[in-house]
């Protein structure tokens, strides 16, 4: 019982923090922070998913921007493409009754029938999962960092295709993505009076991901994953099916990125090709490294803070440079994350009595 409470305590504290932050922002009359905060929350979900691949499976992915865009664009295309002209009225009605279609009239009163956001979301996740599977299957069977290259190439192909296809609106991307009604009164959209609701939707999603990843990494699978990161040979010798586990982690993390992309697209009402830019993927990677690699809490904290500041425009023209510089400094000074680095510094200050504890610390 006490163990269960201790396990749940961080989640309870997180939830309390979420509510407290909302109250503080509302009390300070800074509701306009909410928009960037919600965006930062969705980007942070991508970072946390990437943390699973980098920190636990020990693989570099430079394609998470691509997965994010794949999810977002699939949602955007499916919920904006008008099917009214292609389907017979009775088919339309049947499909609408089972909730797959959503008919309405457009700005000019013409009939507009698109896929509903839910099935579009599911399609986005399935498509991204399938792509990740195809990409990861051969790349993860090889030793070394072939996944980094494969995903980098993948991200760039996605970027070029989005930029060069009429289907995806060239450089303009897709706009006019409808709001997503999750439940009565709960709608994912960027409307002004809907900011607090959306803050809680995004936080709820983040908390779910946190809960899911914490359970996953604490499970048998999670321990097996961590053993791969420490020593792949040792993990194999213990009977861990390393390629399969790595592939699972990679696909889960790609699907999380797609889900975040889908939500953010509905929130922003559109998506552009810059989401698949190589620099975006590098940013996600930076944030995982800055959070301490195999540290979901660290990745979450660092990502929320830095993404929010970056979206607020605090870094100005040095935006990219800040991320690049941070990457170099953190990895060279504190390869296990700033948290561990500070803890080590503090430990070094203390007398040698505790040095046995330091020696027993596992090498990560």
């Amino acid at each position: 019982m006490r163990a269960a409470v201790r396990h749940a305590l961080p989640m309870i504290a997180m939830t309390a923090g979420v509510v407290a932050l909302q109250l503080v922002i509302s009390a300070a009359d800074r509701q306009f922070y909410m928009t960037q905060l919600v965006m930062a929350l969705y980007y942070t979900i991508v970072v946390m998913g990437l943390c699973l691949v980098m920190g636990y499976a020990g693989q570099v992915s430079l394609g998470h921007g691509g997965f994010f865009a794949l999810g977002g664009y699939t949602s955007a295309i499916l919920t904006t493409r008008n099917l009214a002209a292609h389907l017979r009225p009775e088919t339309l009605q049947t499909l609408e009754r089972i909730g797959l279609l959503w008919s309405r009239t457009d700005l000019y009163g013409a009939p507009l029938a698109t896929l509903a956001p839910w099935p579009a979301f599911v399609a986005a996740l399935l498509l991204t999962g399938a792509v990740a599977l195809i990409l990861g299957f051969p790349a993860l069977r090889l030793k070394g960092h072939y996944l980094a290259m494969a995903t980098l190439g993948f991200g760039l192909i996605v970027y070029r295709m989005l930029l060069g296809s009429a289907f995806t609106g060239y450089a303009d991307g897709i706009t006019g993505v409808p709001p997503w009604r999750l439940a009565p009164g709960v709608t994912v959209s960027g409307a002004m009076d809907n900011r607090i609701v959306n803050y809680y939707i995004a936080c709820g999603f983040l908390l779910f991901v946190l809960w899911f990843l914490r359970n996953l990494t604490g499970s048998r699978h999670g321990r097996a994953l961590r053993s791969i990161h420490d020593s792949e040979t040792a993990a194999k010798a213990m009977g861990v099916n390393t390629p399969r586990l790595k592939l699972q982690a990679f696909v889960i993390s790609a699907v999380l990125a797609a889900a975040a992309g889908s939500f953010l697209t509905h929130f922003n009402g559109g998506i552009g090709p810059s989401e698949a830019d190589a620099m975006k993927s590098v940013r996600y990677l930076t944030l995982v490294a800055a959070g301490g690699m195999a540290n979901i809490w660290g990745a979450m904290g660092v990502s929320l803070a830095l993404t929010f500041l970056s979206l607020r425009g605090v870094f100005g023209v040095y935006d990219h440079a800040v991320f690049g510089g941070l990457l170099i400094v953190i990895v060279s000074v504190a390869p296990n994350g700033p948290g561990r680095w500070v803890a080590d510094l503090l430990r070094r200050r203390r007398p040698t009595v505790r040095s046995s504890g330091a020696a027993a610390e596992p090498a990560t």
Binding site: G58, P138, M149, G153, M161, V282, G324, G325, V331
Partner: protein, 293 residues
Amino acid sequence: MSQALQYAFSGVTMGAIYAVVAIGFNLVYSTTGILNFAQGEFVMLGGMIAVTYSRFMPLPVAIAAAVATTAAVAALIEAGFIRRLKRHTLLHMIIVTIGLSIVIREAALLIWDEKVRSLPFFTGTESSSVRVFGAAISPQTLWVLGTVFAIVAVLHVFFRFSLKGKAMRACSANPQAAMLCGINTSNMRTLTFAVSGALGALAGCVISPMTMSQYDMGTSLAIKGFAAAMLGGLGNPMAGVAGGLIVGLAEAFSVSVLPAAYKDAVAFALLLCALFVKPHGLFPERGSIAREA
């Protein structure tokens, strides 16, 4: 026929540049085991520095100075920074070079600006052309091909016959054994970085009149160069030449089939195919650390 030849020439020209980037990649990878994501940035630096220098001095001197400067920057990066990260894992090293490439690019943006600039054509102007078997090509194409051929020839002689080149090969084959033979492996690593920086810079100079230089040109060059290196076989410097030519030709001929906007995607698609079908490349290097990594 002459149109195909035209495509072939443009493919070989770009392919030659990818080949030089691929050689740089392979050099660093085979002696240090590092995948240097900042390799494309050396090409950018070479072009940009040469453009700036060419305002104060004649073109050949400016190019030589730009190559020397970039080599110095590359050596400095290794000696001042990468050398101190010995205990780090491969994962960390990849991340560090990604960070380096961002910082170099952003520094270039601050030093110069986002404007496109270029060196003058080495001979003739942008409108002059030479007829080769019915295809009209710019004289600069011949400069590019000549330079790349010279680079490959000099490197070949260097690795085969000079003491330094042999020492470098020894480091790549077995660093520990090389150390026992009295080779200063640390200095060899610095030298490798300097050489790969110089190669990149030279490529950046000869290509500048045709494709222009810009602060953010490095990333796509690095990736295409990497695709070339992978295709040829990672760690085998000369195999990168074959890889580069394949990537360049595939890209050039894709324009006749696919919309031009997809041109860049072709190189990456080729990279993915290479990864999946022949992960060790067409000409895998035997016995170097590249195979075991």
